[in-house]
């Protein structure tokens, strides 16, 4: 069961990457890999702030489609995590798995 859920979460993240890639120049497009860097404050890797907004909105919609649950990814809970959930695809999928269990702390 958990494996199926994990697969759906990764599918949702990859769909959101597809969505946000349409907005990016070819050279800046994100790879669909668990190690892909999504965002860091320095702006060196991954998405800029507008890209992150687009990504978050797209991902929330994909989660509704694929997991039939509504989550809020951009809230204070995400900011309170020791590791920023948006660091990589992997950290994000772990965070979403916890959120969808009802445990976002």
């Amino acid at each position: 069961m958990e494996k199926i859920k994990q697969k759906k979460i990764i599918e949702a993240v990859f769909s959101a990457i597809d969505e946000v890639n349409q907005l990016l120049p070819t050279a800046q497009r994100l790879k669909k890999s668990v190690n892909t860097a999504l965002f860091d404050k320095s702006g060196k890797d991954g998405l800029d702030s507008l890209g992150l907004i687009n990504f978050v909105i797209a991902l929330e919609q994909e989660i509704v489609k694929k997991l039939k649950v509504t989550v809020a990814l951009a809230d204070e809970r995400a900011m309170l995590q020791k590791i920023n959930p948006f660091t990589t695809v992997k950290t994000l999928t772990v965070y979403i798995a916890r959120l969808t269990e009802g445990d976002g702390s």
């Binding site: 969505e19 349409q22 907005l23 990016l24 120049p25 507008l50 907004i53 687009n54 978050v56 909105i57 797209a58 929330e60 919609q61 951009a74």
Partner: protein
């Protein structure tokens, strides 16, 4: 690679996503979108010298209704705001947009919309005075009335984008986090319409739809089932869908789009079905031409397009058979072959969803284009019956009416200038305002030519413009529809230009041919025109001599030419 169209986005919300979609979209024309300073719509519209206007070819001015007309904000808050005050604000905003004409070639203005989640006050919403939707409809209507006839400004229906995107058209999170008023689905639809608009102003719209017959115009195989066995009309959902699809095609012919048939079929059976089946909406006279045989469809398309004097890039091919579509796509990449649904009941909506037929305006020439091709078929039939070309040209009784560029002719003249590729000396592209402005300048003259013969009226099919220089006169535009090539109209157009130049003192008139991939017919004409070819692309005429019009055409004046000295 052709130059990218630089499109300036002026908005009171964050349009970076729209900018990205426009710039990344692979469809033609290629666009480099740039954004004006965020939320500075009024200062940008007011400031002719604002840096963002520099180098832009086109602009999109997309605003929220309460920003363009602040009193509408009161209506949103259920406060009182006099309707006349709101409409005055719409007028003021319209004036600002009008004042920006000329800074770029074209300005596109999406209509105002409110988020679909804004249910507001239910039935009260439609009440005059306080209703949000009622007020918004009036604002949009006023905006349309103010701008629809302004050359260079084109309105876009943003409500369609919202409808396509549905309940997710606006996401409050996008607004609060990024000041983005609409979702990306809305922006993607907007890109389709903006690009269709840019193609329309450049004259790059499709002119011909070539359809298959079996399972495309009707259900079933007429060769097997016979005329009475095909599915068309009647009390049958598939039959009804085919009738509706034919109606939609017929509607396109009224917009000036030509219809052709390329089908693997027995011609006699197919033509009899088109002529006699009681439920057929399209009849033979609705088709500009056909190739119904068992040959390769790609080859048939090439022949048909050639017969109609069009380029392959003007054609769209619709066929239910994916293998035939793949064959045509591969053999003729210039022909647009849309993916076509397997479900017959969505043929009509698939056709309606194509944005490649968008035009800036519709002229009387558009509405009689198919008829004109039917007349051309009769001309050709007569030509084959008359052995001598000279006798045939005399028998046509060709009449040419020349006149200046009037406001009535402006839309059609601009359309002709921007759509004509083959007989086009310089392939200069201009919007209505630019063309009118050019013709009104001192030393410039521009004529339009209408042609009719005993078979029918071609309408406005030619443009010649001349610029008088100190010692020489230059033919700047020499544009003629392919439908009247080789009928003496070309010579009549040159004669008009020469007569005018002679009366304006220069001793010589010349034409400078600018080659494109498509305008060799123009070079071929000038080579045999009698003008003296002094270098590869320059042709001169000594104005001491009269340039003669062929005896088999009659040239009449419609009025004074648009000319200044």
């Amino acid at each position: 690679m052709s130059k990218k169209c630089i499109c300036l986005l002026v908005s009171d919300f964050n349009v970076d996503n729209l900018s990205a979609y426009l710039s990344n979209d692979a469809g033609l024309p290629a666009v480099a979108a740039v954004t004006a300073p965020f939320n500075q719509v009024i200062p940008v519209l007011r400031n002719n010298a604002a840096g963002c206007w520099r180098n832009a070819d086109a602009a999109v001015v997309w605003t929220q209704p309460h920003k363009a007309a602040p009193s509408f904000g009161k209506i949103l808050d259920f406060e009182k705001a006099p309707p006349e005050a709101i409409l005055k604000e719409v007028d003021d905003f319209s004036t600002l947009i009008k004042n920006a004409v000329g800074r770029v070639g074209y300005i596109f203005v999406p209509t105002w919309v409110i988020p679909p989640y804004n249910r507001a006050w239910g039935m009260v919403d439609l009440k005059t005075g306080s209703g949000i939707l009622n007020t918004l409809l009036r604002m949009n209507l006023r905006l349309i009335e103010n701008l629809e006839d302004v050359a260079g400004i084109y309105l876009l229906d943003a409500q369609r984008w919202i409808s396509v995107a549905g309940k997710d058209a606006c996401n409050p999170k996008l607004w609060y986090m990024g000041k983005i008023a609409f979702s990306n689905e809305v922006f993607r639809e907007a890109v389709k319409d903006i690009k269709a608009g840019l193609n329309a102003v450049a004259g790059n719209t499709k002119k011909l739809i070539i359809v298959d017959l079996d399972d495309t115009l009707w259900g079933g195989i007429v060769g097997d089932a016979g005329m009475e066995g095909i599915k068309l009309g009647g009390h049958d959902h598939i039959g009804e869908a085919f009738v509706d699809f034919q109606r939609a095609l017929k509607a396109l012919t009224r917009r000036g789009i030509l219809l052709g048939i390329v089908s693997k079929n027995d011609e006699k059976t197919a033509l009899a079905t088109i002529s006699k089946h009681p439920e057929m909406v399209l009849r033979l006279e609705d088709f500009a031409g056909w190739r119904i045989n068992w040959e390769d469809k790609a080859e048939n398309i090439v022949e048909l397009v050639k017969e109609l004097n069009l380029g392959l890039e003007a054609a769209v091919f619709i066929d239910d058979n994916p293998a035939e579509r793949a064959r045509v796509r591969e053999a003729l990449p210039s022909v647009y072959v849309p993916d076509w649904p397997g479900d017959k009941m969505i043929y009509k909506s698939a056709l309606s969803g194509l944005s490649c037929f968008d035009k800036l305006s519709f002229t009387s020439e558009d509405s009689r284009r198919t008829q004109s091709y039917a007349s051309e078929r009769k001309r050709k039939q007569e030509k084959s019956a008359i052995p001598s070309l000279g006798q045939w040209l005399i028998s046509l009784d060709t009449n040419i009416v020349v006149g200046g560029l009037s406001d009535i002719d402006l839309a059609r003249a601009t359309q002709l200038l921007n759509k004509t590729n083959q007989m086009n000396l310089t392939t200069r592209r201009m919007c209505e305002a630019q063309l009118k402005g050019w013709a009104a300048k001192p030393g410039h003259a521009l004529w339009v030519f209408r042609v009719f013969d005993k078979f029918g009226d071609f309408g406005l099919v030619g443009i010649v413009s001349v610029e008088i220089k100190t010692k020489k006169a230059q033919i700047v535009d020499f544009v003629l529809s392919c439908r009247v090539f080789g009928r003496g109209v070309e010579e009549a157009m040159l004669a008009v230009a020469c007569r005018y130049a002679k009366d304006s003192k220069p001793k010589e008139i010349f034409a400078g041919y600018i080659p494109t991939v498509k305008n060799k017919p123009c070079l071929d004409f000038f080579k045999k025109s009698g003008f003296n070819q002094k270098s590869k692309n320059y042709f001169f005429w000594d104005l001491a001599k009269n340039y003669k019009i062929p005896a088999y055409v009659k040239l009449k004046k419609a009025g004074k030419a648009t000319q200044s000295n």
